[in-house]
Structures are given as C-alpha cells and as structure tokens.
Symmetry: C2
Subunit: 431 residues, 2 copies
C-alpha cells in the first residue's frame, strides 16, 4: 500500500482545513506512516461554488456513491455534519468496508454505539476524537497512552458553551440570562442552548469517556445530569468566599469495580487545575493508578483545532489499516456494568439554606445533620436582606448520596428552614 | 511477527513496574498491536537477589551479551541508569539492529544525538519519552498528535525539583536554602543539586523539545539558562503584589523562522495555567498555529509513571517495527538552524532597583528607560528598610533584549541607583 485514498464528505471550514493540513504536511505524514495520503473525491452540495482552497475540480461531486461505493477509496472523512442522512451514508460506507473518521458529535451521540458495532462487523475503524473535545486528543490518550494504566477517575470540563457562561458569570458578576444572550450573539451558544446548558452534551461525552476509561458499557441514561440554569450570582459569591469556583464538571469514577458518572455544577478549590480553565476552553483531568494525576487542556472546538484532530485520527486509521488491526475501535466491554447505589456514592457537598433568624434555629439544623452522621468542613451563618431571616452556608465532609438526600428532606420539614436555596457537589483536593 | 521479544536492562523500581504493567495488560496490548510482547531476558547485577515480582529465574543474567547479542531479541528496554557503560551497551545493541526504549535522561542529554544518529544508520528507533517528563507523553504529542500543526511556542515546567522548591518558597514563605535542604532529605533533590537548580536539566529538555517542535537542530548551548538560586522571598512578594507567580519556566519560541530558547525564573500571571502547577508536577504548554493553546500536565517523575511511559514507548516501537518504518525517530532537521539576535528577542521584564530616596531620583531612572523607548506596564516606588533609601519595582511592556541590557547598563551608572537587585522575564497572557 503505497498510497491511501481518501473521500472527504464536506468542504466547509473544517473540510477546507483538512485539505490544507494534508497538503502542507504531506512529507511529514509520509514519514510517520510509510505511505502517502491522497484525497480523491470530495462530497459537496454545490460543485460550482468557488472554494477557499486550491483543489482539482474533478474531485468535487454531489453524488455520495462516488465516495461510499468507490472501490478506489479506503477511508471516508466525514466533516459535513447532519444526522439522519449522514448516518445512512456512513452505514453504507462501512458495509463497503471503508474506514471512517468523523468530527460529528451529534451523530456519535445518537448513533455512535450502532456505528461502532457495524464497523466491527466489517473490520473497519471509526475514529471520532475530533467530536469529543476538539483540540484535546483525549480519546487517543485514554485508549492508547494510558492503555497500560488502571484509570480511577476522569474529571473534566467538556462543554465550551457552559464553561464560557460560568467564566463570565464568575469573573464579571453577570447573570446567567445576560451571558447566555451574549454567547448566542457571539456564536458560542446555539439558538436552542438546551443540550449545552442542561448538561446533556457534557453527559454524552462523559458516557463515552467512561466507556473508554473503565472498559465498561456506560450509557447516557447512567449519567446523573444537572445543568447550570439555576446557578446564581449569590451561589458563586458564597462559593468564592469559602475558597471555591463553580464549574460545570463531568466526573466518572470507579471504586470496587463500580462506576459513577455525573455532570453537575461543582465547587472546586480556586487553585485546582480545572478551576483556571476559562471561557470556551476544555480540559480533562485523568487519575490513573500508576501515573497519578495528568491533565489535558485545549480548545474545545474551532475549525482548525478540529481539522488538526481529524488529520491525527486519519493518520491513526491508516496506521491500523497497515498493521492489519482495523476494526478494533469498538472494544467489547471487558468488565460487567456495575453502577454505584446511593449508599455507595460518596462526595462532599455545598448547601445553602434560607432560615428564620431566631434562637435555636442553628441548633435545630445542625442536629438534623449530626443525627445522620454528617459532619461539616465549613459552616457560616449570615444575615439575609429580609429582617428576621438569615442564610446558612456550609460544606460537608464526604457523605453518601443517601445521607445527603435524607438530610435535605429532614431540613425541608423543619419550621425554622424557609427554603433549601441550592446545593452542589464539592470536588478536587484541598491544598 | 506473532510475538515480539524484549530484553530488559535493569530490575529496580522502574524495571519491576515495566514487568508488572506488561503482565497485567497483556490482552489489551495484543489488541492494540496485533501481536504479543514477551520479556525473555533481564540484565541485573545480582541474579540471586530476591525480587518483588514473579519472574522465571532463567530470564535473569548479568551478561549483557545475552541481551544485546541475542538474535532472538528485537527490543532492548533500558531502565538501569548509568551513563558510560550504558551508552556502550546501547551502541552495541543498535549495531546488532535492536530497537531501543530508554528512560535515562542523563544518558540522552549527553549521548542522545549520537545514539539517534547511530539508530538511524541501523534502521532502528530509540524512544525516550519517559526520560523527558515522566508521565506526560509530550515527545509523542509533539511528534505525532500535533504533527499536522505548525508549533509557535512551547513553554513548560520540565524540572520537578525546582518547581517543588519554588512552590514551597511561594506558598510557605521559606528560603531557598531551607527548602532545598528539605527537598534533599525527602529525596526530591539530589545531594549535588547543581544540574536541577541551575536550570541545566530543564535546558537539556527544552533543547530536545525545541528540536521536535521546530524541526530545527537546537543544541544545549543555544539555550539561555538562569537558575533559581538567586530568587529571594522579596522577589516573590513583589511579584505577588503585582499579580504574578515566579516559576522556573522553559520557553522555546519561533517567529519568522528564527528560534529562541530560554530557561529562567519567569513571572506568570497568577491565573496562568502554568502558575498553578505545584510541587514536583510538570506541565508543558504548546501553542500551535492551528490548534491554539493546549497543555499537558502530569507527574514529572516517579517509578510507576515512568514504567507506564516506558510501556507506551515500547508499544510505539513495536508498531513502527510492524509498519516497517523503524529508524525514523531521528528526523533530519527540516529547517536551517537560525537563532534570534538580541535585537530580535522580545519579551516583558520585571526589574527591581535599590535607589537613593531623593528628589529627582525617580525622574532620572524613568529618563533612562524613555531614552531607550522602554515603556512600563506597572511601576511602584516603596520605602526600603534603610533611611534615605527606596526600592523601585517595575514591569515593562515588550522590549528587545538589547533595549533591556542597554537600560540596565545605563541604570547602573546612575548615582541615584545603588544596586540592580534583580530582573526576571515576564510571560503569559494577562487576563
């Protein structure tokens, strides 16, 4: 195999980037692979539209068959987006034994497991690192670099939109609604921001990362998700005064062969490496048994980072093809799927209560906790704006989810408690 | 090739770790490579010594020839340390067409270029990622993951000992001497700490990373080095009051096809990702034209992180062997070596002066700078402990090395300036 032939689906900003990267780095790529890579067909809507990049016009086509049913083509690189039609196109490509590289996160979220299974049946690879965290090679790292380590925890900021919003709320003291509107105007957030701000996008990615890290089948429905809509300036300020920053954090953990995966607004110590990841940047923190703590930080999206990630995946696919190990992307889960129960889920929490400012209130509240063996790291009573009212803000030591829920239920029944204002998970080592 | 056979030199903590990792991950490694890996010989000093790991006693030998002259063996994994004898052993192995993986940073610093050349002549690889930053796969990332990007800047904390010392000095307000002594007692610093605290170890690593990043031959002598011996508590406090943290930072930059590589105590904004890298941790920040900013963070050393990195390198060597592209580790420099002159080196600086507290002193000093077109970001005059004396602390905007040196010379000639106390580079984007 002297030359590998590629069919490119899509020639928008990412597709154009892929063409450029391949052109500019031809010599280096040959050096690293021992063979050449050539684009022979590009699927576009309009073959006559002027393009930003110099290409042979004969490459362009609007007929998918010229790619997926083309015997000459070894690999399909999909950077055109879309879900239903794209899924069908990739299914046909796999049945024709084409290797696949895709940057399509919506497609992988919906049809990823199915496509991976079909790829395996056809001895093909699907590489999708570009769909997870743009410029961060986290799939490859979990799958390869840390292959020889037992991974205990993966913790990350895997959604750029929500991190942008949380950063602006924290640094500029602005409200969620105001920052969301700005992010939409700047193109960092979609017109319908639900999938981002409610944590679904992050949850899909965490499910994929947990699969890879723990070699266990984890579905989206196994992820406990809470978005950032309800996080207020007051929450951010109280967290700050206790030494924490609030971020939307995905956490996948494994203890005693049981997994727990969550996505929720989480308090991190201000000097935790993830606390400093700002704006639309992503970062993934991995704790391995042997390696200890490692972190990967980079742009979560953007057309050039994505194009670069696509080319890295393309190189990996070619390497596998030449090694005769294509079809190994989908790893049959090595371990039986076991999830933690509420009794087994342990973490720290931040709790904010609106209370009556009267004698015995504080006592009544702390009794609820001590009856359930919940102990505090920090506790703070502050006067509220309304007379005769106060706020209590506290962080707990490690408690089970069951202890937390029991305590919150009991608190809501107390006369002196007006309202449970908010509660968040606390994570990250205190320095 | 169904089975790749490995000779392991050394069975200390790293060697034992390598044996364990290979044993525990045999299935996964086969899956990723399409072949098995087997250790067949281990070179040790004492074949009778009891070992922490279960091994076939017939593997053990104290005769190097049983490894390097053994036709059965494909790959030598060197984790025994030492320089002269080890160099000779690896030279013989290469002449016998053995592939090499090494974690030996002192050896690579002294004989790396020579060994890489010999490897190339013999169509062999030498992989040495474990020798650079322990658990961070930075060589692989520069060489592979970001292969398809132009790298503009590599900036990192690549020496754990100095980062440990700077962290303790900053967080606990202790002196260099005191912290160094503690680090020696804890085993984080060598009895002779010269190579670490004077920045040489970091300089060697930055030279290697600059080679990889810029595809240009950069030698140790091309790196401008300044260690941390002279950094005082007062420097740290003044930096802090201006919003900066002092770290020993290696910077390799490329503009207009000209490189500059430095290792020196550097002020970074307190919220820069590298400013939060604490204790013995390492981190490398890479700025690529397409990808933008990415950062890799992890333990700089330690026997299990190193063993894991060694096994990752071993897998890469096997992959290359099977792809028929062994011997490509040494890349002939693609670009002509061009270094920046003092007129072309631009950066920001922090300068501390002891001055006479008299009318016109401040004016005389600022005149020196303005005559040389140096403008300030921040400037601060403070009374010193001695009467009639003061200190001036300032940070400049970007100026050339030439402007800096000229200004400092002129200042030292001024009667009102008693002493140039210290000056450091300032880097990292201000938020």
């Amino acid at each position: 195999m002297d030359k590998v032939k590629v069919g490119l689906c899509g020639l928008g900003t990412v597709g154009t980037g892929v063409v450029r990267v391949l052109e500019n780095h031809q010599a280096r790529i040959k050096h690293k692979l021992g063979c050449e890579v050539e684009i022979v067909k590009i699927l576009v809507n309009d073959v006559k539209k002027p393009r930003d990049v110099i290409i042979d016009p004969s490459w362009l086509t609007n007929d998918p068959d010229e790619l997926v049913a083309n015997d000459e083509i070894d690999i399909i690189v999909e950077v055109m987006g879309g879900i239903e039609d794209t899924n069908k196109l990739l299914e046909r490509a796999l049945k024709n034994k084409k290797q696949i590289v895709t940057a399509n996160k919506d497609l992988m979220a919906l049809y990823g497991q199915k496509l991976l299974r079909l790829a395996k049946e056809n001895q093909c690879d699907i590489l999708y690192d570009a769909s997870i965290a743009g410029g961060i090679p986290i799939v490859r790292t979990l799958d390869d670099g840390l292959a020889s380590d037992h991974i205990e925890k993966v913790m990350g900021i895997v959604n750029g939109t929500t991190n942008y919003i949380m950063t602006k709320m924290t640094d500029e003291g602005r409200s969620f609604d105001e920052v969301l509107k700005e992010a939409q105007e700047l193109g960092f957030a979609e017109a319908d921001p639900t999938s981002d701000v409610d944590g679904l996008d992050a949850a899909r990615k965490m499910a994929l990362l947990a699969n890879l890290a723990f070699k266990m089948e984890i579905d989206l429905t196994d992820v406990a998700v809470k978005g950032i809509r309800d996080v207020t300036q007051a929450d951010i300020n109280f967290a700050e005064s206790l030494g924490y920053t609030i971020k939307l954090i995905g956490i996948a953990e494994m203890h005693d062969h049981k997994a727990q995966v969550t996505v929720e607004p989480t308090l991190l110590p201000k000097d935790h490496p993830l606390a400093l990841v700002k704006n639309e940047f992503n970062a993934v923190f991995v704790h391995g048994e042997a390696v200890g703590e490692t972190m990967f930080y980079g742009p979560g999206a953007g057309s050039m980072p994505t194009a670069t990630a696509v080319v890295s995946d393309l190189m990996e696919v070619i390497r596998n093809l030449r090694l005769g190990i294509s079809g190994n992307t989908m790893i049959d889960p090595q371990f039986k799927r076991q999830l933690k129960t509420d009794q087994e889920k342990y973490s720290r929490h931040f709790i904010r209560l609106a209370v009556e400012d009267q004698a015995g209130a504080f006592q009544a509240i702390t009794n609820v906790f001590s009856d359930r063996n919940v102990s505090f790291a920090k506790i703070l009573q502050l006067p509220a704006e309304k007379e005769d009212h106060a706020e209590i803000v506290m962080t707990t030591h490690e408690i089970s989810q069951e202890q937390l829920l029991n305590s919150l239920q009991a608190l809501e029944k107390l006369d002196v408690v007006n309202r449970l204002i908010s509660h968040y998970r606390v994570d990250g080592e205190e320095s």
